[in-house]
Point group: C2
Chain length 142, copies 2
DNA sequence: GTTCTATTATCAGGCAACTGATATAGTATA
DNA sequence: TATACTATATCAGTTGCCTGATAATAGAAC
């Protein structure tokens, strides 16, 4: 990643700081997850499926605060990679139930270890109430 | 934007909080800038050009912490929209100097007013040292 | 003077987010 | 019962980010 030649004046805003932190976090997670063939958003989906097996596309989208279309395209990719499997609900004709495969479960376990390291680095640099404060900011902006 | 049906356990991490705050910030900025035909990243580019007229593609990319390719595609769009203009440097054959047009200057002034409102909302919900702390986190993760 | 390196610009392809549109299944209501 | 509404899934197109690759320019080293 390139680094700026000088400090930018208008970059004093809180909005800029939030963006920078998220960008750095995302890049580091992607680098670490790359060897598993996973991206940061894909890791999040696997986490959700681990916590709630059989969740539908719509349910997963709500959880991740993204649109159903966005989640749909991620699920297609994860299915092609063999990490999840989808099957129509027995009662509800339209719903597609989604589950981790064994390979998915495996990959998730390995990914947890990668991600934990990044979380620790971030926590050590942050104030103790940082997470709580940021969720408050997110709520205020919603 | 959808909202989750329940609270997610694994969502206690700092990484998740950073992502949520950035996502909410980005969505609000996009909504406000939409009437000007601008996105949040495009607004950032215009800000940089205002602070440093005649900057090159590579220079702008370093400033925004993105790759030259990413900046390139944004500049092409802004040029098509008539907000910036590019011309080859007189001495250095390869460099394309970029400047705000009058329309770009105009749009930027209007955008500043939109964005300020969002910044105030975020600051009111955040702790006083939030921006400084987040830049520290970004640095630690880089 | 040629080669090597650094910088710059750009093309092509991929992922993840969005909006808009379409189709279907289930539920509520006039 | 017919109609409308809600929820779900999925297609297509756009943006912003990435990596990889290509090409041109400027300056340094031999």
């Amino acid at each position: 990643m390139p680094s700026p030649d000088t400090v930018f004046d208008a970059h004093q805003s809180l909005g800029y700081a939030i963006k920078r932190a998220q960008q750095a976090l995302r890049l580091r997670m992607d680098r670490q997850l790359k060897e598993l063939g996973l991206t940061a958003p894909q890791y999040n989906v696997l986490c959700s499926l681990d916590a709630e097996p059989g969740a539908s596309n719509a349910r997963l989208a709500r959880r991740a605060f993204v649109t159903p279309q966005t989640m749909q395209s991620m699920l297609v990719k994860l299915e092609r990679a063999g990490l999840i499997e989808r099957s129509p609900d027995a009662e509800h004709g339209r719903i597609q139930r989604t589950q981790l495969t064994e390979a998915g479960q495996d990959t998730l376990t390995k990914a947890h270890r990668c991600v934990h390291e990044t979380e620790v680095i971030a926590r050590n640099a942050a104030s103790p109430d940082a997470a709580e404060m940021l969720l408050r900011v997110a709520e205020a902006l919603s």
